[in-house]
Amino acid sequence: MDRGRGVVGQYQLSQLQNIEAQSIHIIREVAAEFERPVLLFSGGKDSVVMLRLAQKAFWPGRIPFPVMHIDTGHNFPEVLEFRDRCVEAIGATLVVASVQDSIDTGRVVEEVGANPSRNRLQTRTLLDAINEHRFDAVFGGARRDEEKARAKERVFSFRDEFGQWDPKNQRPELWSLFNGRHRAGEHIRVFPLSDWTELDIWQYVADEHVDLPSIYYSHRRQVFRRDGMLLAVGPHVSPRDDEEVFEASVRYRTVGDMTCTGAVESGAKSPEDIVIEVAASRLTERGATRADDRVSEAAMEDRKREGYF
């Protein structure tokens, strides 16, 4: 199956080249039309691909905007290490906004209960950082195939002065003519990967030799089973008495907060292995590995309305 760079015909782009060209177009439009864009970078595969596309958009020039990490304080150490290495290699400016700071200053209160998570708290930290730095365009790596609320989102997604998304009242988006007009205090979330699927991301990672954090590939790890997911034993997550810890060969399909991101059992050691695995998978990546989306049918929509990524 030729998903990648292979020649399709004269004056014809492959589907990956096609969506790549569209993403680069989107990123350049934002750089040209906004005063203070920022690119959200978590070290996750989607944000890494987005960063690569930004690099391509302005090459041989540098990326003309900073990257920002919303740090929950519950990160995988491998991902933090990767984040710093990656940002330094391309000479980008990194802004870190910390959920711990938001807790310490009383902006948000840490969740308590059976499964406390900082996932939802990130929204406050993100919106505060957008205000503080007066960012007017915020690139996110969300894809429409991820989740059903995302399937309805625009590439240029308007946020009001409260950072809220109003799904019933979105601007129509035609051709490749994006409307980023907004008033002071409002901003636009921009999703250059809207048309990419999980499989596209992995195919691109394979074709372009994109470097990713090691936890995306199969490794041995101490895990326990909770709600049908494999969670890693670590400083922020511990098994309850009835949860048995065992070692398994696992990889992560998404990298979020350690407290709510599960691993899948896998022997896939390369992007090519993962392309094969993803093509055969019968579960979505969020359904398989994200506790934050399991709260309710509309968990993502609710968080997005509040200003989540």
């Binding site: 199956m1 998903r3 990648g4 292979g6 399709v8 015909g9 004056y11 014809q12 782009l13 492959s14 589907q15 990956l16 080249q17 096609n18 790549e20 060209a21 569209q22 177009h25 350049r28 439009e29 750089a31 040209a32 391509k56 958009a57 302005f58 090459w59 041989p60 020039g61 429409r144 195939d145 059903k148 609320a149 399937a151 309805k152 799904p167 019933k168 601007r171 129509p172 988006e173 035609l174 051709w175 490749s176 003519l177 409307n179 007009r181 907004h182 008033r183 048309d195 699927t197 499989l199 596209d200 998978s281 019968r282 579960l283 979505t284 359904g287 398989a288 049918e297 509309a298 929509e301």
Partner: protein
């Protein structure tokens, strides 16, 4: 592997969601957890059957009210192609949503209920597809199982629709009889309709020839961004970044920059992966020129012997998408290729009834979901082609100057 963008429209009654659900399911684009969640929700709501529309209707209000509010994008792939479906509701905000979905589509899929035949909505969908110049129109006659797979039913719908479509500008028109519920002719050819000799729906989507749909004749590069690294390694580099909107550019080509009208040559075409021999739509590239001419965002690179129309007085079909009507004298922000200008509406010539194609020349304004012929004047000259010749350089959007909301979409008329 190529990309095909398709737009669909229709109501629940037409079986559109069932059809899309089947395409997604049979191509393994629906996952078990998605299906389980849909089954669970259907049961909770007390449905008699699993409502596949829930796969595409993701918003809370949609699930509660059982309606589709907005354009939803869905993705599936076969070994031959990747497909992006812009799934638009048939009733609510139909013009706004259909124009949006069709603006980027290679193919529009219009669904007809075999028992009902061509209805007003069918004609409206087909007209909007032709207005947006979607190159391929596919009429799916659905629910053939409910008319005993009768060939005569299919043929009479086909004839009636072909007669209507002859009044439209449709380059390629095809028909497939299907039963989305039973799966007839969706993925596999159906044994229930041996009289049908064409391809199944999926096979048609995989095979329809789209390579010649782009404009490879008129070289057009709207400049998005000037790349100037100003680093020690590249002190003098100047490249003009943009997405090719027409034609083919090669190193050595003589080119003209608008609005200055200066001519120079392409020194090279760059990309992150290395130099590019030929740039064509829809590639995003960076072009270097041999002479140090003044070029900035909003300029257009073309060929001296193949230039677009340059003008401030525009004539266009406009689809209006907001409650507040469009009147002569209104000022609006207009985006065309990579530039925003101010526009004033000079005149509304007629309003087109999207159901009957009747031109109402007494109309002096356009309301929500209206389509009409409008003349405008803009503050700076645009470099444009007629929409029928080039969907990129022939289109614009209109935004309200106070709310910034996108309120209209325009398709330019030109000399040809």
């Amino acid at each position: 592997m190529e990309l095909l963008r398709l737009a669909t429209a229709g109501s629940v009654d037409d079986g559109k969601s069932t059809l899309i659900g089947r395409l997604l399911f049979d191509s393994k684009a629906i996952f078990e957890d998605q299906l389980e969640s849909v089954e669970r929700f259907s049961r909770q709501r007390g449905d008699d059957y699993t409502d596949l529309a829930l796969l595409t209707d993701g918003l809370r209000a949609e699930r509660e009210q059982g309606i589709t509010i907005d354009v939803a994008y869905r993705y599936f792939a076969t070994p031959a192609r990747k497909f992006i479906i812009a799934d638009t509701p048939g009733h609510i905000q139909y013009t706004r949503n259909m124009v949006t979905g069709n603006s980027t589509a290679d193919l529009t899929l219009v669904l007809v209920d075999a028992r009902k035949g061509i209805v007003e909505q069918t004609r409206r969908h087909a007209f909007l597809a032709s207005l947006l110049r979607v190159p391929h129109l596919l009429l799916c006659v659905n629910k053939m199982d409910l008319v005993d797979y009768d060939r005569d039913v299919f043929e009479s719908i086909r004839e009636e629709f072909a007669a209507f479509a002859s009044r439209l500008d449709v380059a390629d028109l095809s028909f497939v009889p299907v039963s989305a519920l039973q799966g007839d002719n969706v993925v596999q050819r159906s044994a229930n309709m041996p009289w049908y000799e064409g391809a199944s729906l999926l096979h048609h989507l995989e095979q329809v020839y789209i390579s010649s749909d782009r404009n490879l004749i008129d070289p057009r590069l709207p400049v998005q961004w000037v790349v100037r690294p100003q680093t020690n390694g590249q002190p003098d580099y100047r490249g003009y970044a943009g997405r090719v909107a027409g034609g083919v550019f090669k190193a050595g080509d003589e080119v003209m920059v608008l609005p200055s009208g200066l001519t120079t040559r392409v020194a090279g075409i760059d990309s992150f992966g290395g130099p590019i021999d030929e740039a064509f739509p829809p590639m995003s590239v960076t072009v270097r020129l041999t002479d140090d001419v003044d070029v900035s965002r909003g300029d257009l690179i073309c060929r001296p012997l193949n230039q677009p129309t340059v003008g401030q007085d525009l004539d266009a079909m406009v689809a209006w998408m907001t409650e507040r009507p469009l009147h002569p004298g209104d000022f609006l922000a207009l985006k065309h290729t990579t530039r925003w200008v101010r526009a004033v509406i000079r005149d509304v010539h007629y309003r087109l009834d999207v159901n009957t194609l009747h031109r109402d020349e007494s109309a002096s304004s356009l309301g929500l979901n209206d389509v009409g012929r409008v003349s405008l004047r803009v503050t700076q000259p645009l470099f444009y082609d007629s929409y029928r010749r080039n969907r990129q350089t022939g289109s614009f959007i209109l935004a309200a100057e106070d709310t910034n909301v996108t309120v209209g979409a325009g398709m330019l008329h030109g000399p040809d």
